[in-house]
Symmetry: C2
Subunit: 157 residues, 2 copies
DNA sequence: CCTATAAACTTGACTACTCAAGGAGATGGC
DNA sequence: GCCATCTCCTTGAGTAGTCAAGTTTATAGG
């Protein structure tokens, strides 16, 4: 059925799963990016930054911790936060004890806007995991499998 | 248990799954990139480009089709292929019938190197999905769930 | 044949990261 | 008290993609 020589027509199931994961992620990111940026002017990365801040007590975190929690580098956080500060969703706060640290802190506006973004993001997620194709158990299962896959989740190392 | 007001402490399971997927992918990509670039001097994207070519009859494809198959834009393919041409893994071939199309075609060297890369990638995937934590069924299940998630796989539109 | 539209590809300008280097402040040994 | 070392953060340079615009060639209508 396959004419010509096809190198690597078959590959291991693990590799196949990896490639599918990468592909699925690209599609998801595109979808969320376009929805979030259309309605709120932020990217998915911006949203996860804000969301993580929103989950922290007081709505504020050190930039290093933010980086660790999101799987970005420190410089990625610096660069990602800059526009969010410019548009007033986040402010920079100093630490009284340690002058090196610069907290990122959600502003009241940031909090309010974040709530709206969460709604949008949940709607988008609900479309992606439409009940027609996805049962609650499927989603939980996928989540569980992905958790095993290294994305450290929320805990520190 | 949570002091201070934490916006969006809870979120829908679908959104949670999405965020985990993004996180898992970032970790996977980093791992594959570092292995592949260390041993073969190519990124994961380069590898998927080559792999897809290797699966095509004759080891060649039109650039548009390559883009479609991998979820990239046409310009992404142009840019990704350029270095692979420079290092002699891929060549550009014209179509006798249609002067607009430029096939990307695996060179004999490309074919040989690809086989080695596949080995590396499968080893890496085997480490990630280590038998201690992952059964064959788990992997198949993950693959199946991911396939449902839009990453068009191999078929055209 | 000629013109309009569409397809395949490339290019320029931009965004979002990365890594490596560096500044500024904290900390611990002695 | 001072120096070495470590941590937090920023910055410059580079990479990998995007989108929009432009070129070239094909195709279809009249």
């Amino acid at each position: 059925m396959t004419p010509g020589q096809t190198v690597a027509a078959a590959m291991s199931d693990s590799l196949d799963a990896t490639l599918r994961l990468v592909r699925a992620q690209a599609a998801l990111v595109r979808r969320f990016d376009s929805r979030l940026s259309g309605l709120h002017g932020v990217s998915l990365t911006d949203f996860t930054l804000l969301l993580r801040l929103g989950q922290a007590p007081g709505g504020r975190m050190r930039r290093v911790d933010l980086a660790g929690a999101l799987g970005l580098t420190a410089s990625g956080v610096t660069r990602g936060l800059a526009p969010l500060e410019r548009i007033g969703l986040v402010t920079r706060e100093a630490d009284a004890r340690d002058a090196r640290v610069a907290y990122a802190s959600l502003t009241p506006t940031g909090r309010r806007r974040l709530k709206e973004m969460v709604t949008t993001a949940e709607e988008t997620a609900a479309e992606v995991f439409a009940p027609a194709a996805w049962s609650v158990e499927d989603i939980a299962l996928l989540s569980a499998l992905l958790t095993r896959l290294g994305g450290r989740g929320l805990a520190g190392h």
